[in-house]
Structure formats: structure tokens, C-alpha cells
Amino acid sequence: MTILEDRPSNPAAGDHDRPIGHGRMQRKEDPRFVRGKGHYVDDIVLPGMLHGAILRAPVAHARLVSIDTTEALAHPKVLAVITGTDLQALGLAWAPTLSMDVQAVLVTDKVRFQGQEVAFVVAEDRYAARDALELIQVEYDVLPPVVDARKAMDPSAPIIRDDLAGRTDNHIFDWEAGDKAETDAVFASADVVVKQEIVYPRVHPAPMETCGAVADFDPIDGRLTLYETTQAPHAHRTLFAMVSGIPEHKIRVVSPDIGGGFGNKVGIYPGYILAVVGSIVTGKPVKWVEDRSENLMSTSFARDYIMQGEIAATKDGKILALRTNVLADHGAFNATAQPTKYPAGFFHIFTGSYDLAAAHCTVTGVYTNKAPGGVAYACSFRVTEAVYLVERMVDILARKLDMDPAELRLKNFIKKEQFPYANKTGWEYDSGDYEPTMRLSMKMAGYDELRREQKEKRERGELMGIGISFFTETVGAGPRKDMDILGLGMADGAELRIHPTGKAVVRISVQSQGQGHETTFAQIVAEEIGIPPEDIDVVHGDTDQTPFGLGTYGSRSTPVSGAAVALVARKVREKARFIAAAMLETRPEDLEWEKGRWFVKGDPSVGKTIAEIAMGAHGTIALPEGIDGNLDAEVTYDPPNLTFPFGAYICVVDVDPGTGHVKVRRFIAVDDCGTRINPMIIEGQIHGGLTDGVGMALMEIIEFDDEGNCLGGSFMDYLLPTAMEVPDWETGFTVTPSPHHPIGAKGVGESATVGSPPAVVNAVVDALAPFGVVHMDMPCTPARVWEAMQGRTRPPV
């Protein structure tokens, strides 16, 4: 039985600098990865397996006139060609999205973005399936597309979602947070107000492994086994049951090794559903794996926020208030994955790390003829956009006030004694101590020395920039009273079983896409029950093998599942106390715990190790009332609040004045993610996130032309950073444990992706200060930087 655990008590006071459970150990999963023995969806081969391929729309907006599949069906290796009409007959032409909208699985009426799914071919091999796509004849009646989100609400704009009854425009939602009247009042009386439009363009998570599935429907017992690239196997299973009518207990979702997710693998894509339909129709397992262009053009993008920012302050640099109106481009279907109450995710953490008198934001979501999605790419539910906005606005204010941006930040931080801190948009920041983190980053950077160097260089006409970003995240969604996805509370489960010989297995509901769960979670258990992490197997990614939970995204694994694992281990430890007492013929309250062992108070030589107790539990001794004969436990953890990791980043760039080329010379990242479990894994997450941040700041963008053609459909056009674009990362840390998390951990997966883009852009803008540049939008490509130097900054969209 799964029980709902009580609120955890505050973590025991102690030395939180000490990493948990063997600290910097090598990752248990790495031997298989470094030897090429990882096992991904595309490695799965089932007897008789067929292969699917998707025909995609070549245009962004068009009425579907006709589809002729005759020639494709005549291909000797083709077994089935499925169209929207076929799905309509099964009631599967449309599927619910994670945001209460619907998305076409295959086009029935109208194409709404380039790359949309039009037909599905099932063939004996992948080559034949791909070849047969060219044999399908489709006639389109091309319509004018809505490409620019700014024009989506024009009365003359074509209506994209005419499938939705009563639709007369492209509006999706309006959402706000904070007190408008109060904020306006503060602005009205402020000494200084600065405004800036800030665009966070559309980017793509581009995981190394593209999305795919192998569906195996057994027509005899009605069981569906679905191997999928998913970050949330349990949520997917529930949704599949709801959509397909296959009862949930007959569905098994397996997420094997996953080659990167970054939010790209949270949603349910038409391809997954089509693999299932293909298997049902043919009675054989069907594999579908998209290619790189399909991944870039049709799966979940990130960002696409056009933000009008305003910041108010006193003359001497006390920041008073922030407000912003955001236009959010959600593409053709509202398929963003957000907790239900929050259509703009956690964007309302845009008040950042500062103690403000007021704040207000509005977000308007619109449809455009672009691929759907909207929350992806390590963004902590839109915290990325929020942090970018506030950290750019603070820099713009610093320029206006002619203040050093570090000094301005230090002056306005929420003070240590103010935590827990209720911000003006409804968050309660659980903990924080910002100034030491900021000061450490400045010390590591040699901040004053850098400013001196910059001054000298400016005199020589050289362009050097120093950019600062101080971010506060809100991660670990979330308390069930506030947060759900499609009605599923955002809790996670853990089951721990100690085998008779003292080895253990812990089963978790979150799924690793590279974050190192098999190591981190073993380390948490190791810390709590005192057996080595090598003796603890971590099982994840298979709904038949693991307890229910919502999965890995939004940096929630350690804050939520990590807590579940710590608590389940404590439960086992408590149970072990009773069994040890029985074995030692003493009372449980007479026993004392030291790592791995209960012993008799005052007589440390008399005690039982966890292994001995496990054997005892499964042995023949008489057990106390209410204690059953095992050393196992389960919990489901409902987090009482989110956790609020933070960090101070400093970026140093050199800009070539002749070409506009930006070189990131140094990057200093001081992170505070609370209690640190495995510092090596934390650093790995940070290195990856910083690289993401440099990529977004300097080169990544999914652009569209006026016809709505995607211009970022290959790695020649969608640039990802390499080792050559990034410096040696200089990382540091402070530790401010979360007061409500059982071990004080806060989550770190997305910190660096969230925190680094503003540091890089702030550095570039700082370098361009001699040209009077106050703001430039990402990506800071050589051409865009040069244009900014000519006084021609322009939004990327």
C-alpha cells in the first residue's frame, strides 16, 4: 500500500557542505554509456517488428483537399497507410494536449504548421516506409499563414483553430499575476522608470536522441507495451488509457535509456499514438523513430516570448517595482506542458532575487502557424524567460543610473533575514542568502580587476564585456493543492526493498534522461540507511516496475523524488529499528542509529547492521506486532512548497570590433542548490546548462520565413554550441539548504540554462556600451552584433 507521508521535518542541523552518500562518486550508469552499451528506443528490436514513417505537411497553413494512398499501398513492402480519415473512424484523429487543448494526430481538415503529421506508413523496413511517403499524393489548398505573433490578434488574421467551436480569433489565454493597481501606483511615483522590449526567440531542445516509440499491441490479451522516449512514463500511460480506451492495467510504458530530454520528451507526440495505431492495425510491433529534421521542425520548441519590460527605481538605485506584458507564441496547438493553474508556467517568478514593493505581469497566449509545444529546453516552467527579463531589466536600469550592475544587485537583494520571503506575485521563497553567493562569484572572477582591464581596453578601442546574472529559480513542482497536470497531482513515489543479504533496490517514478538518477538516488538511500551506493539498484522508467509519479522535468527529480527516496529510506530505517530490537531482545527506544547499524545505547558493541536486520526480517525470529516480515517500504511525496535554488553568474566576452564576433572568454558560475549530493553530477549538470545558455545567447534560433517555412530544420541551420565556443567553466558553490526538503536539496538540472543566457547577453551589451547599445536580443550572432554597433538593433522576430 502506498501511503501519503507526513510533512517532513526540518533537516537535522549539521554540516550541509558535506555531500551526501559518498559524494563525488563516479556515475553507476556510465560504464554502459561509455562502452556504447546504452539501450535506447531505437535499439529495441522485437520479433516481426514493422517500421513507420510520417508524411509531413510541406506548407504551414492549407486546407487538405484530398489524399490518395493507392500507390503507396501498392508498394510491395507497405502493410498499411493510415490517414486522418482512418483515425476519425477510430475516434483518434485528435488527442488532448497537456494544456486542455486538442492536437491533430493526423490532419483531417487543415494543415496548421509546416511539418504537421499528414499520413503514417507502416512497412517492412524503415527504408520502404520512407520511400512510400513519396508515393502518397496529397492535394492542398494553401491558405495565408499567421507567422508573426504580433499580428495573430489582428482582426484580419486568418483563424487557425477553426476546428474549435465558436472560435473567432487566435487568442488562447490571458493570465496575470501580482497587483496591477499597486504596481501602477509605484511606477507613477518612481524617480526612474525604464522600458524595454525583450524578445526571447523560439529555440529548440534538440536532444541528441530524437523522439521515437516501439508499440507492441498483443491482440490476444489486449495488452499494449509501449517503449517510448518519454520523461514521464506514468503520466503517459494514464493519458494513453484515457485516449485509447485500453484499460490502464493493460498498458505498460517503458522508457529505456534516453538520450537527452530537456523537456522535449514530456508531451505525447502524434508519432507515439501512430505507432500504437499501426501496431493495432497490423497486429505486429511497430517502430517509429523521427529523423533530425522532424525533431527540429515538429516537436516541442521552447520560449517564443515577446516581453515588454518596465522597471521602476529611486534615483539612488533602490528597485521598486517591475511590470511586464508578454505575448506568448504557442504555435498551432496549445500543447505546452504546464501545471493547470499556470498557463504561463512559473513566469511570475520574474521578480527575481530582489525585494520589490510591487510587481505585475500579464501574459497573452496566441496561436500561430508554427509547431506547437512551448515548454521545453530546461526552462523550469518558463523561469528561463522570467530570469532573462528581470536580469536584463536590472542591467538596463544600472546603465540608466550609471551604477555598477553588481552593486545595483547587491543593494536590492532580498536579505537573508527576510526568508521565507513572500514575493509580490504569490511565491513563498523557501530560503536564500544571496549576498555571499554574489560576493563569491565576484571574488572568483576578480571583478574589480576585470572592470579595470575593461577600462584600459576601451581606451584602446577594444571591446570587452562583463555580464552578471543573479537568478532565483522555483523548482520541484509541486504541492498537490496548487499543481496538477491534466488533473494528476504532481507527486512522486518511491519504493525501497532491502533484500535478505542487505542489498537493496529502490524504485522511483521519475525517469533519467542523463541526469544520473541511478547514482544520485542510490546515494540518498546510502546516506539514510548506511549501505554503499554500489549495493543499491535504482529502477526507473518502466510503469510495471515503478510506483506512480509525474516524471522528470522542471528540475523536479531531486526536490520531489529525492525527497520520496529519503523518506522511504527513513521509513525502512525506522522499521529496521523494530526488527533489530526483536533480534537483540531489547526495546526499540533503547537503540541508537549510526550509519548502517542500530546498536544498544551505552553498549555500541551490541548491535545489528542493516544486512543482518534484513536477514532477520526474512528469517524466523518472532517479529513485533504490526511489523511484517520484510525490510521494505513505500511512500508518495507531496512537496509542501517548491524549492528555490539560486546562483550568481559572471560572463566575460571579447567582441571583435571589425566582425562582431563574440568570444566567451570566461564564465564564472556560483550555484546554490541547497544540500549537494554528488558534486560531480551537479557540475556536469551545470556545465551542460551553461553550454545551453551560451548556445541560446549566441546562435540558437528557430526562424520562420513569411510563408511559415521553418528555417531551422537541420543542424546546418539550427546551430548548437560545441566545445570550441565555450570556455573552461569556473564553478563554485554556496549551500543554503531547503528548510522543507528532507535532506535540504533543491534541484539543479536547469539552473545553469536558466541563469546563463542573461549573463552572456549582458556581457555582449556591456561590450557594446561604447556604441550606445542598451539592449540587443538573442542570438548575438556576428551579423546581429555588428548591426547593433551600427545602431540598428532589431528583434529576431
Binding site: D131, D291, G658, L711, L719, P721, T722, P782, A783, W786
Partner: protein, 300 residues
Amino acid sequence: MQIPAPFEYVRASSVDNALALLDRHGPESRVVAGGHSLLPMMKLRLARPDWLIDINDLFELDYLLVDTVPNNGRVLRIGAMTRHTTLLESDDIKRLFPIVIDAERVIADPIVRNRGTIGGSLCQADPAEDLSTVCHVLEGVAVVRGPAGERMLSMAEFHRGPYETAVAQNELLIEVRVPIRDDSGSAYEKVERRIGDWAVAAAGASVTLAADGTISHVAVGLTAVGLDRNVTEVEAVLVGQAPTEQLFVEAGRLTSLACDPLADQRGPVDYKRHLADELTRRVLRAACRRAAASISDITI
């Protein structure tokens, strides 16, 4: 996995065999060298040859040698199957043609350079391809062989425009010959959005200095800005002059007027014109410095 349209595949065993196979399989057959231009296009189904003739066994075309040939004098002979990496690592090239090293360092990445060939690069004639510009600037000669025998083409004759060369369907590029000039220096510089990306714009220059330190011979070429030839406009201005910053500025100005770039995701037209100017100045500066250094080398 991106899947090309169906094709047949055969490995050629010699140059003659490759030519015979091209003849036999006709217009829908293509040779594949490093495959780093052709295969991506096939995977996107932009290229759909019926037959792929693999010339990677033609080791006889993988060479680099300094030679004296009738009419051309002292030349560096580069076999068409010479890989980018071989060029990058060659001491002869480093000494004689630093422009090649400059360019190779910014062509793609080591993985591509290990397979991609000079022959494939020149025959692909991508407008953003770097070695074409380099060969133009060095006034290389292309040796092309077909059923009717061998012909020698200047780069101007060889390179007809974007994606277009004088090599007929049933011919092979065999060799590139680069004349060796004493007292010379050369350089190449490229602006790219990311390492391994194709050029936003690039420029190359080769300069020969006379005994009095004036420029006796010069060639300037551009990449990715709509010019498939050397910037002959600057030659008259530079030849006979002592290399000065003022001269480079004028050369840069003329170059930016001579080019004809298109706006695309890499940048607007005026930026690319600016780069033509900026990079021309930089490569002329570097080439003159290297030429001067090579003279002092000899006198030592």
C-alpha cells in the same frame, strides 16, 4: 536517421575503372569521395543519383608533392583524393601556402576533415566553400580526365559558378597544381557563426614582394559573397605599390564594391559587404607580413 532515395553502389578500383563506370551508368551516376557534401544532400533527398561510384579506393589520387612540370614550373601537385586533414598537417603546405592552413583550420570539424577531399570540395563548388577561393587566389590549375584524355583548366575555367564546374558527368578531377612563387605570403580569414559552420563571408589573399619591398603580384578572393572569381579590381591598385595600411583600406573598399552578397540567416547584405572589406584588409596585412618574413628567411 535520415534516409536517402534508393541507389545502387559500386566501388571503383582505379581512375580508368571509375571513368568506365561513369560512362556505363550514365547521367544518373555520381562519384562519391569524402561524401561530406553529397551524402547530406542525398539524405535530404535533394540529390538522388541512381548509382554511387565510390572512389575512396583510388589511393593513387591521394598525394601531395613538390614537382617541376613543363609550362608550369615549380608546383605543388595535390591529388584530388587528398583529405582536408592531410592538407592541414602538411609541412610543405605550411611553408609554401599558409593560406591553405588558415582555411583548413576553419573548414568544418576534424570528423569532416578526416574524410572530405579537395577534389570533392572543388567539384561541389558550394558558394560558401573555402578551398575554391584558396585555389583561385593561388592561381591553381585543375587537371581533369575523361574518356578523351586529360585537360588542364585554370580556376576561372574550372569554376563556372555556384555548384557548377567544367567537369563533365563522365570526367574526374584528378589533381590540382599550385604554382610556387618565391618571396610570397598568403592568408585566409573567415567569419562564421560557430566553429564548423559555413562562412558568413571569408577572404583570401596571396602576395609576392619585389626586392624593393613593393607588391609585384597579388590575388584576392572572397567566399560566400557572390563572387566566383578573384577580385581583379584590386590588382591594379596594389601592384607596384609598397604595402601600407592606406593601400589595404583602398583594396578593402574596392572589394566590398566588387562583391554581390545575398541576405540570409547569416546576415544582411551590408554586413557581408563590410566583411569583404574588413577581411580583405586583414588578409592583405597578414599575407604581406608573411611574404616579408619569407624574404628575410631566404636572406638568413
